[in-house]
Symmetry: C2
Subunit: 332 residues, 2 copies
Amino acid sequence: MHPVIAQRFPSPLAAAESGGVPLAADLREVEHRLRATVSDEQDSFLGKSAFHLIEAGGKRLRPMMALLGGHFGPDPARAVDAAVIAELVHVGTLYHDDVMDEATVRHGIVTANTRWGNTVAVLLGDYLIARAAEIGARVGPEATKLQVRTLRRLVRGQMAETVGPAPGVDRIGHCLRVMADKSASLFAMSVRLGAELSGADPTVAAALERYGELLGSAFQIADDILDIAAAETTLGKQPGTDLREGIVTLPVLYAVEDNPALAPLVLNGPLTDDDARAEVLAVLRVSTGLERARREATRYAERAKDVLHDLPGVPARDALVALGDFAIGRTS
Amino acid sequence: MHPVIAQRFPSPLAAAESGGVPLAADLREVEHRLRATVSDEQDSFLGKSAFHLIEAGGKRLRPMMALLGGHFGPDPARAVDAAVIAELVHVGTLYHDDVMDEATVRHGIVTANTRWGNTVAVLLGDYLIARAAEIGARVGPEATKLQVRTLRRLVRGQMAETVGPAPGVDRIGHCLRVMADKSASLFAMSVRLGAELSGADPTVAAALERYGELLGSAFQIADDILDIAAAETTLGKQPGTDLREGIVTLPVLYAVEDNPALAPLVLNGPLTDDDARAEVLAVLRVSTGLERARREATRYAERAKDVLHDLPGVPARDALVALGDFAIGRTS
């Protein structure tokens, strides 16, 4: 990895705008629409509490992907619906993830499950996903079909992660499948839906979906690396969250493969003891696992960029290439 | 209430078939489709565990409603999709309900949350709802719109029940709104979707939706009454489940209105002590609350039957009238 890449794009927005497609105004419109959608609810508690995690912010990567997808068609403004749908589904799944992981902090604020209990948090997630489905139903049957397929993959991926690999199943293969279904699927949906709604050519939309699928895995591996390697100041949360929650990520599996003595420390469920976790993190940071995961993330990002070669040479294509570089640049 | 009505229809199927529309064969087809849909899943744990509550049975009231709705159009066979969608959504919400209520037994078998934990149970519910959405998306945009609207009402109703009435809000009004959103909405969807898919006239489909909405509330109030008044042998589970789970139902609210001394016993959350609950049940059984709730359920059922007056005089109409009678007949 060349550290210059990481410096070039201080944020995903900087990367996404580097192609010459201005996105800030459309992203403000997405923020506005997210708020308007959620608060349009007769149950005032539901309307207000669903704001919780939307207001907390986030990188809005999926809306950016949707908006950029929209620049491959004649009517890019229509991709705003795709961006809103993508972020509603994403934040909805975060509410559910935090219940399942018993997380207490997300984006620097207390989680909904900690504040209002698991039942409310699950319902907030359901609510956002239902609202996204409502927009999809208004937009058209193709949007619904894509959303429904994605929803099924999200459920399948989360279930596979929760249940873990069956005995005898390769753990790394299982981890990659979980990643594809649980993370990459939503990236794939975002950019494809943006393209479809803007009237892009169907073969272009299909290629963009493939790009999103590959880029989503690159981003996820990068996140998994950062959870081990990054400083708390960079990360905005304590590193080692995955270890604490018993989530087994790709860099950890690579490290175990190269050093089986690590297995009992990292594969036996949540590592809740702070000192033990700090020790394991120190070992993982100097392990071969991190470097192997970086190479894997790079491979995904390169494959994502390869898909773009055959697409029309619009500025949005350069932006998507830059997002691929940004995904990888963060990890070095 | 005339006890003869209750004797006339020993089961909802007997009531539904009393109009001369045979439903048993279509219901077998629905069972087959439910199983085929759920097991069509590459994740074998997900496919198998999602069977859990489908295999446990249930009255299949919503599929019956959907099938009967289908007899108002030229192509009743197409209502099978509506019946499958309705039951998948229903069973999906049961998985979620059992997590929220911390229930351990449902339909005589151990609940999914008890067997596999809350995370798995929530995902099983999500999975069934996603599969229902998939069928809806295949069937057409109108089905999706109706499903999405219903989903939003289900979430809103469950959230309102979880959060409880805001200070100063009439508890009975709140309870009726929860019932409409959480229970009646799915009855309304079932019969309307069956009618729509079979090609029924839109005004007929809309009237049937109204019928379903009213009948759904009648059934829910009847369930609430039975949870207080029925014997364990009739009910198939211990009576007093709602009290034990801290769910405040309409007959209880009526009883409290007539006898405010009951309030501290039944409005302060779960009544987990068996002896205390048995005492409260004994008091409720001789309270005015039961009789007032019976009258309210009858009013809903009568209003439901009134809606049917203006509909074409097909045999399915008689069947829907009979289902109204059945709903009430159970409570006397």
